[in-house]
Subunit: 203 residues, 2 copies
């Protein structure tokens, strides 16, 4: 068995298709050796969200206690709501040789990397800025003003791609999903993760 | 386009199925973005070998001139014959963004890594020592004495696996070949090989 699983961080600005990629990935490449980190949040569930799949919904008090006990790999506040990545779930699975996929924005990603330096960071790129804008407009659920704001935020986030270990260009969802899986497969083959297997074979 | 290709070194003791894996790989995953390094040798072709596919057959004089001009990434002598990995073919292809696969024994692999530190080193492991011995016997072309010698040499080589970047256990040829391809795919996705693409997207 592999020595321990890899913590795979997936980031990418809105419009890069990160959510679609992850859904496709679960469908095509899902297996017992991969789990997905679900964040805790103090905000109320939104329509369509599924408790313990979209988020674990907890109270402010529960969140603060867990935070004070070092229960989060990283945490942050947005609009008076708290969000955090539960540490125990992640570390327990890695210990069992299971890979943990964590979808998180760039600031959180860097915090996780600081507290867990072995984390493998993957950044999803759009094929181009023009295409990114088209995708943001295509969603058609927001005003042009908000779309422009999202677009500017995305451009800022894209500047952080060089800090990641891998980049995946999402020009085709099948290709991008396959590439993401290749990264996970290759990480499982790293010599540093297979010391037990090597000594087992040579015995 | 990718900044440059990766030099993929493939090693593994005899009996690990390295040759079979590479043949299967060429058949299933061969593409225009992967080429295979062919060594120069001063020895005579053996029955079944194909010139410029198995080896480039050259004279001692040609070999020595090339060697003195720094034309080899590594070279070595066995049984009075010289063998070398031509440098120009490898570097020219990497420059064009094409990956170069180089099958080479462990001593040569380390020499290549010294002269080209970006090389990605992949080691093929047998499922177990017992299985390795069965495969060596299964070839049935050699005396038990020679098989024992090969087996002892293989056990020594296996100790070098921890020096490699990746290990692939060849318990199923399809799985091992797929894993080898995943390593190559993942290397192509490394941020350090995609600076041009990142700056292109963000333009």
């Amino acid at each position: 068995m592999i020595d321990k699983g890899s913590l795979i961080i997936l980031s990418g600005p809105s419009g890069t298709g990160k959510g679609t990629l992850l859904a496709e990935f679960k469908k095509v490449y899902g297996s017992e050796s991969i789990v997905y980190s679900v964040s805790d949040t103090t905000r109320a569930p939104r329509p369509g969200e599924i408790p313990d799949v979209s988020y674990h919904y907890i109270t402010n008090e529960e969140f603060n206690i867990k935070k004070e006990n070092g229960g989060y790999l990283e945490y942050a506040s947005f609009c008076e709501n708290q969000y955090g990545t539960p540490k125990k779930f992640v570390l327990d699975n890695l210990e069992k040789g299971i890979d943990v996929v964590l979808e998180i924005e760039t600031v959180g990603a860097r915090k996780v990397k600081e507290s867990y330096p072995d984390a493998v960071m993957v950044f999803i790129l759009p094929p181009s800025l023009d295409e990114l804008k088209r995708r943001l407009i295509g969603r058609a659920t927001e005003s042009m003003e908000i779309i422009e704001k999202r677009f500017e935020a995305a451009k800022e986030e894209l500047k952080l791609a060089p800090l990641y270990d891998y980049v995946v260009v999402n020009d085709s969802i099948e290709k991008a999903t396959y590439e993401f899986y290749s990264v996970i497969t290759a990480e499982r083959l790293k010599t540093k993760n297979n010391k037990k297997i090597i000594s087992e074979v040579c015995k």
